[in-house]
């Protein structure tokens, strides 16, 4: 009996640890291993050392010219952009009384409740390429354009539309955390600051609000990174094809699917996965540096 008690924490942790290892840790380890092999899903993996990485950075023109720049552009705008937007909106909403605040918070949060697949339906209809498309119809009526634009099939618009849709749905859990953080800042801190000579709301935000809600800011940043990389499939959902037209909306995640499930070059796809994991890790390191306590 005593022995059981001694190991109770392992018993309590075991369901989680088992699942964590099988579905999170092991896949990462296998991805790292596979990234050093040639693997076509039929024959067993053959060790080729760094070849996949060398190919990725020297031979894969699509990766270097389209996928990587797209991913960087998309994640730099959607990540920090969505994050700053979340904070600004949370702060604005926090200036209102309880009932309107709740209503606004709910409206702003609701887009993030819609699934990627669901949204493809709506946005594909709104951005439809013929004159039946809502945006085209509106612009035609106002006289801005004289023939309908193929929004989702034109390389010049696809990435922009992906960014707008992603920003639109980015007020998720991070937004709620920040709102809660702002509302819970100790009132006496503000009072003290005003005695010390703080004059306006901008100073109030920079010197009191943000430092007081550091934990929520960090949480919001982490969530925004995750959100950015999970919505990455949106280009394929919007345009309806993988690869996207002229690779205009191709992000790293799509590149992985392209090589893994369409071309069956699993080893190569794994190398791309590892690169993606490293990018995500670097992003989170920066977030931790900015808002972490140590």
């Amino acid at each position: 009996m005593k022995k059981i008690k001694k190991y109770m924490h392992w018993i309590l942790l075991s369901p989680y640890l088992t699942l964590f290892i099988i579905f999170i840790l092991l896949p990462i380890i296998v991805a790292i291993y596979l990234s050093f092999t040639y693997f076509n899903a039929i024959q067993s993996p053959r060790w080729i050392g760094l070849q996949n990485y060398v190919n990725l950075f020297t031979r894969d023109e699509i990766f270097m010219q389209k996928v990587l720049p797209n991913t960087i552009k998309f994640s730099l705008i959607v990540g920090p952009g969505g994050y700053i937007l979340s904070f600004i909106l949370a702060w604005l909403v926090a200036q209102l009384t309880k009932v309107p605040r709740t209503i606004f918070a709910l409206i702003l949060y609701s887009p993030s409740l819609t699934a990627g697949v669901t949204m493809a339906v709506v946005w594909r209809v709104l951005f439809n390429g013929d004159q039946q498309g809502y945006l085209n119809a509106l612009l035609l009526k106002l006289g801005f354009i004289d023939k309908p634009i193929q929004w989702l099939q034109s390389p010049e618009y696809l990435l922009t539309i992906m960014i707008i849709v992603s920003l639109w749905s980015s007020m998720g859990v991070g937004f709620l955390a920040m709102l809660a953080g702002i509302l819970n800042v100790d009132e006496t801190l503000y009072e003290a600051a005003y005695i010390d000579g703080i004059k306006n709301r901008l100073q109030e935000i920079i010197y009191i609000t943000i430092p007081a809600m550091k934990p929520q800011m960090l949480f919001g940043a982490v969530m925004s990174i995750v959100q950015t990389f999970t919505t990455a499939g949106i280009g394929v959902a919007l345009s309806g094809t993988n690869p996207t037209p002229q690779y205009a909306g191709q992000l790293i995640v799509n590149h992985i699917e392209d090589y893994g499930f369409l071309r069956y070059e699993m080893g190569y796809a794994a190398a791309v996965s590892v690169v993606l994991l490293i990018i995500i890790y670097l992003f989170s390191k920066i977030a931790w540096k900015l808002f972490g306590d140590n």
Binding site: L106, L108, A137, I280
Partner: protein, 290 residues
Amino acid sequence: MAGFTPKTNPKRFHKSQIKFYFILIPIAAFMLLPIIFIFSQAFKPIDELFLYPPRFFVRKPTLNNFYELFAATKGSTIPVSRYLMNSILTALFTVIFTIIISVFAGYALSKKRFKAKNLIFTINNLALMFVPVAVIIPRYLIIQKLGLIDTFIINILSLLAMPIGIFLIKQFVDQIPDALIEAALIDGANDFQIIFNLIMPLLKPAISTVGILAFQVAWNSADASTYFINNENLRTFAFYVSNLTAVTGNTIAGQGIAAAASLIMFVPNLVLFIFMQSRVMNTMAHSGLK
């Protein structure tokens, strides 16, 4: 400074707040438009879907799209209700098991003393950043090795490890005083009794939050159905909707059906969140990464 009133979180309306309404109302309207569009589109009769120039709001709402949605699969062997049922079961079990697993682990990480504790929590925090799509191929290979391809249970299993769930619960259990648990131990309670009778009731806000997040993931996820399941009988509604829109999304007639399906996807999330929002906010106030 007598009579100081903080400007944030005001108790009652003051005309200085009007400027915030001026900024927020247009933004909120923009955020709401596509959602109103789903509702409007789902109830449009066929002639309004065909209308040119297209009209945003529905004039003569009809349930026809929903009938069509359920009739669309009449010819095939698998009815829509099958996908829906799969989704409901997946969501239900995912929510229940995620909560239990997270509470067990969160409690152990917060209140038990053992060597690997900090290491596990650090790894968990790193895994907050985990994006399943990034390692979809190794995941597939592992699931294949485990013989879980084409099983219903993989719909649920692949979603249960939720680092954010452990994280939120642990942060909340940290705030429950140790003395309370020690008192229960002295009274002869074991860990399971403590968890179910003491921790769970105290953790209601955090548990609701984890439940909502788990529900959202389970209800919206088409990943397991796409990658791990080939048997149509076991696939979920989210998968059905994504397939439906891929095939019929571009035709006008399909738009009504797709919108009806989207509405069915969206409404449960919304209703659940409206009911739970104050608890969620409460959790978020105490959930910072420290």
